[in-house]
């Protein structure tokens, strides 16, 4: 399914000459986001609190890694310069990475990992629901496949937020701490970057207002069951989608890219 970058979609009425490049950047943003979160989750492998949850986190990491690969492959096609999925993942520096700040945050304790996942899943699931009926056929196909996995992810993380919020005093204290630390990264997910704004204007991306409403409704439902207060008036950090990251991403990429950077141009 090669896509001609000059003709991204038949259905997009308002596309402009910049649209193919913007679409490339956006698909790359999706790819980076899935990869970085998969990487963080994979750090748990072998160290989970319960064997069953070790398996669950590896499962989600594998889903996200698969999704990331689909996006990178599509981005490479859109770019049309002969780069591969691995070139895009392993040979771009932190300032070129476009993932939102949330997903690069360190795992912390299990409550932090759960909360990071919950915030992301609420966005990811509702975004994919829109993308799967969007005008770009390739993106729609990837979303169609991934939304089934994301439906499981959001169920898993929501159930754990409820367990931890309405569990013991300690689990509640820990999940509250995680909310305090991580909620400030939620806003960036639905705050469109310049690229996203342009693609929204061109009819390629859904408006995030509706998605935000669906996220809010889900959060209220889960937090109520978890007996947790819904955070209000939190100052939201942003920058990741424009390449301005937290200090954590550099270390993550140093590890992720180590072999490709040490031995350039080899097959593995």
């Amino acid at each position: 399914m090669m896509t001609d970058p000059t003709m991204p979609s038949q259905a997009a009425a308002a596309s402009s000459p910049e649209t193919p490049t913007q679409l490339f950047h956006y698909v790359l943003q999706l790819a980076d986001t899935s990869l970085i979160l998969a990487h963080r989750l994979s750090e748990w492998c072998g160290h989970g609190p319960i064997l069953e949850q070790d398996l669950a986190m590896a499962n989600i990491a594998l889903d996200l890694l698969g999704e990331a690969r689909s996006y990178y492959q599509y981005a490479a096609e859109l770019e049309g310069k002969g780069r591969t999925e691995d070139d895009l993942a392993y040979l771009r520096s932190a300032v070129e990475y476009r993932n939102p700040l949330l997903v690069e945050q360190p795992n912390g304790d299990f409550a932090s990992t759960i909360l990071r996942q919950f915030i992301y899943d609420a966005f990811h699931y509702h975004l994919l629901l829109q993308l799967k009926s969007g005008p770009d056929a390739q993106l729609a196909a990837i979303a169609e496949k991934s939304v089934k996995e994301a439906a499981y992810h959001i169920k898993w993380s929501s159930e754990w937020v409820i367990r931890l919020g309405d569990g013991t005093e300690e689990s509640r204290r820990r999940v509250e701490k995680a909310i305090e630390n991580l909620w400030r990264y939620a806003g960036e997910l639905t705050t469109p970057s310049a690229t996203e704004k342009a693609l929204q204007a061109a009819g390629f991306l859904p408006d995030y207002v509706a998605i935000q409403q669906q996220i809010d409704a889900h959060v209220v439902r889960v937090f109520e069951e978890a007996t947790l207060p819904v955070p209000q008036g939190v100052f939201m950090q942003k920058g990741g989608k424009d390449g301005r990251h937290s200090e954590h991403l550099g270390y993550l990429l140093a590890e992720l890219q180590y072999l490709q950077r040490t031995y350039p141009g080899l097959q593995w």
Partner: protein, 319 residues
């Protein structure tokens, strides 16, 4: 006093000799039960601890495809751990008890995981050699006398053969790659060859449990038989890869239609078994730490389940 009636023990042995499976509700000698609990839990612990040396490279895997395969492989090992803990539980122990024995150092796990994984080639060596040795040990266990263990092993073996192929493929890619990659592969083989031969356990003459385990058909081949089989299988594969097996005494023996090979460093073997391997402390600490740091999570899940149950009971009572 002679009797025509067979004793329970004789009936049990007769079933084993007829190659019939023993199931959880069947009578079994206490020693058989204990041996199985020891062996199955040791096997389960090996899967759990075995996640660590490979987990060490998930975040550094050199391509997205390799990362995905490695993560899936390590996840399979967690799955094997689950089947095996469940199989052991049918003998009347609990996962909590088995884990407590692992954490206290009472229960053992395969010594091979006390060796460090130092380069990407080690992911190849672990798959190709370590999983290769594990398969030789495990395939006969698909026919082991205890039903739940045999059935768990059928599933484990299916996945292990996939693991071994991916390990060999990593080695092959390295050997067909740059001189640095080929050197990486050879260096890996140099470190992993002898520890892998140790995976089959002590020499038959020093393995006191072998005879009883063979008689109970828990074990189907002796340690030395399996070690010989492994060498015969692996040497041609190393040659195919263009790698040198680090054993100056390795030589084809036409008469026995197998390789003669040098003696394992048994001092090293017993040292690692006793806890003096490079990573014994780290591996156990990592498991203990994961368990201790996970305690509040397990407590929360339990507390929430109880609250939910109480609420549902109250709802039912009110209805």
């Amino acid at each position: 006093m002679e009797t025509l009636e067979l004793t329970q023990e004789e009936q049990f042995q007769a079933r084993i000799d007829a190659d019939m499976r023993i199931e959880p509700k069947d009578w079994m000698p206490d020693a058989y039960r204990k041996t199985l609990i020891r062996q199955i839990s040791q096997h389960a612990h090996s899967e759990l601890v075995g996640m660590l040396p490979e987990g060490n490279w998930i975040t550094r895997a050199p391509s997205l495809k390799r990362k995905s395969i490695l993560l899936a492989k390590v996840q399979d090992e967690a799955g094997h751990g689950l089947y095996l803990y469940s199989a052991a539980e049918t003998l009347g122990t609990s996962r909590d008890q088995m884990l407590a024995d692992l954490h206290s150092g009472k229960a053992k796990y395969s010594s091979i995981f006390n060796y460090p994984t130092l380069s990407w080639a080690d992911m190849g060596c672990v798959g190709w050699l370590v999983d290769g040795a594990a398969i030789l040990n495990q395939v006969p266990l698909c026919r082991t006398s205890y039903g739940p263990y045999a059935r768990a092993m059928v599933r484990v073996c299916k996945e292990e053969s996939f693991h071994q192929r991916q390990g060999f493929e990593i080695m092959q890619t390295l050997c067909e790659g740059s001189p640095e990659q080929k050197a990486m592969a050879q260096e890996g083989l140099n470190r992993w060859w002898w520890p892998t031969l140790m995976m089959f356990g002590p020499k038959d003459s020093e393995s006191p449990n072998t005879a009883q385990s063979m008689n109970w058909r828990i074990k189907r081949f002796t340690n030395d038989e399996l070690r010989q089989k492994f060498v015969d299988m692996m040497v041609p594969q190393a040659e195919f890869l263009g790698l040198t097996v680090p054993d100056p005494n390795l030589k084809w023996n036409e008469a026995k239609q197998g390789y003669d090979f040098g003696d394992v460093d048994w001092e090293e073997f017993w040292n690692v078994v006793k806890g003096n391997g490079m990573c014994n402390k780290e591996r156990l600490q990592a498991r203990v730490q994961a368990h201790e740091e996970g305690a509040w999570v397990r407590e929360a899940a339990l507390a929430h389940a109880e609250k939910r149950q109480q609420r549902e009971a109250a709802k039912a009572a009110a209805a």
